[in-house]
Amino acid sequence: MGKKKRTKSVAVQSVSKPTPGRGFRIAISLLLLVHLVIVIATPAAMVMPGSRLARWLLQGAAPYVQAGNVSHGYAFFAPDPGPGHIIEYELRFADGRTERGKIPDSNQHWPRLRYHRHFMLSEQLAALWEDEPPRPDNPRFEIVWQQDYMRWERQRNDFQKRANSYGRHLLNISGANEVEMHLMRHHLLTPEELAGGRSPRDRDLLETGEIITVRTGSPP
């Protein structure tokens, strides 16, 4: 009995391992330094306009950063918390029937994590949406405008592809022939508007940003 007790009390005791050898410590230290430089450089490269040094440091680290999913910007509610975005859609079937839905839908997408996944679909599509940059009247700004326009065109292409992918998925799961998606921006109330009796649920706070129509067999 007494022996058993003694064994138990020793079993939880902690003893330190001998300190690792110098070679081991140097090798591990180098690996740690490389890892930490990458972990710091990835968000530093993402903050607009992005550190040149961080981008240079990351040049050879693509295999590690991409394969290990180390690249994150940690921009939580930054730079400013903005309006929310939802997608309202109408499915049109061959027999003339229509069905409406929205992404995210708190009644359908439950529990909350599931709702948030769908909310991110509409938010990340909205992040690609931007108005076409207006052409300047002054020809001196033409070159700057052209660069801006090319960037917008690439982003517009990404937006269109993603929206089409969403649309094709909706057609796929519903069997509909056509889907019309409205990307809506849900504007935020000011404290003054709230005090004046308005509600965040007011329909006029929703502004249609873009209408995308996808049909069965349409190109991706």
């Binding site: 391992k17 740690l32 940690y74 994590l113």
Partner: protein, 327 residues
């Protein structure tokens, strides 16, 4: 000149000693094991929720089609990119469910601490693979999940509070050998990496907020709680307390920017940890991101010393424990 050289040498020796002590001190794996348990549970929950829309997010005809995902990867990393996901090799729904079932089993094993090192490696690979495939539906939770899982691979995360530990103890019962729970250098390295990574996350979260005007004028908290899509608890009546909202806005930025400094000081650490708990519970309950809030709190666990966690165990210890270092 000789005096200066000696001073420099002495300083360099102090730096090397400090570095060695910081990284290569053996500690009890209790903190890492606690992180394993909670991360495993969170991963299990996160991936069980994916089950509700498995084909929609991971099937080839999902919200983000396989073709679009490939194009996105090429746009981000060029033609020879290193993004990957095992889901792109799965083309039938039954295989998709089998792969998902295997992942759920791995996350359950990680939480329970069964074959811990193997399940930690598999959990990390699976978490990355899910993240890569589910591009378009990710948020902060996924970033923290992958960070925590990556570091669990490094240390003996199943040395305590696990099926592995229970099994080892059971195997040794009745044998003459006396088992000693060994402190571990790799447990310390894993914990240090989580600690530093948490500092980096908070710092950049704060730094990126400094680019926005609303975090300076104090209106950001209002903009966050007024967002109807985020709301789980309606805090808009706080509109009548603009100074409180401004105070909370500034505290958030200050906390995030200075976490990386104040968390290392013994006197300020409890205050910083308490602020983290309050902030993340607030985000969890009011802004509908309970999982993200919990993930950040699990990361903060890295700053709780093993001795405290062992003292908090429900089962009373038969003898006084020697103080474990680290944390």
């Amino acid at each position: 000149m000789n005096v200066i050289w000696k001073a420099v040498q002495s300083w360099l020796k102090d730096v090397v000693d400090g570095w060695d002590q910081f990284w290569f001190t053996a500690i009890d794996p209790a903190t890492l094991a606690s992180i394993r348990f909670f991360t495993g549970l969170l991963l299990l929950y996160t991936h069980l929720i994916w089950s509700l829309d498995l084909s929609a997010f991971f099937g080839s005809q999902g919200w983000i089609s396989g073709d679009l995902l490939q194009q996105t990867w090429e746009a981000q990393g060029g033609a020879n990119h290193y993004f990957w996901s095992h889901f792109l090799s799965i083309h039938s729904t039954s295989f998709l469910w089998m792969a998902h079932g295997f992942a759920i089993l791995v996350f359950l094993m990680l939480a329970l601490g069964a074959f811990s090192r193997t399940s930690a490696v598999l959990a990390f690979l699976l978490t990355v693979s899910y993240m890569h495939r589910a591009a378009g539906a990710l948020f902060g939770l996924d970033q923290i999940n992958v960070m925590l899982t990556m570091y669990l691979v490094i240390g003996p995360c199943g040395a305590r509070f696990s099926v592995d530990a229970w099994w080892r103890k059971r195997q040794r019962q009745g044998k003459a050998t006396v088992h000693k729970m060994r402190d571990s250098v790799s447990a310390n390295i894993a914990i240090r990496l989580i600690q530093i990574h948490m500092c980096i996350i908070y710092f950049f979260a704060g730094a990126r907020k400094m680019l926005g005007g609303s975090w300076w004028d104090g209106s950001a908290m209002w903009l966050s709680i007024a967002n109807y899509e985020y709301q789980t608890i309606d805090l808009t009546p706080l509109a009548t307390w603009p100074m409180l909202l401004a105070f909370l806005t500034h505290i958030t930025v200050l906390f995030e920017l200075f976490y990386c400094v104040l968390i290392w000081n013994r006197l300020t650490r409890p205050v910083i940890l308490l602020t983290a708990v309050l902030m993340h519970l607030g985000i969890a309950t009011c802004l509908g991101m309970a999982t993200f809030g919990l993930a950040m709190l699990i990361g903060n666990l890295a700053f709780i010393p093993p001795s405290l966690l062992l003292a908090l165990r429900l089962r009373p210890q038969p003898a006084a424990l020697p103080q474990s270092r680290g944390g």
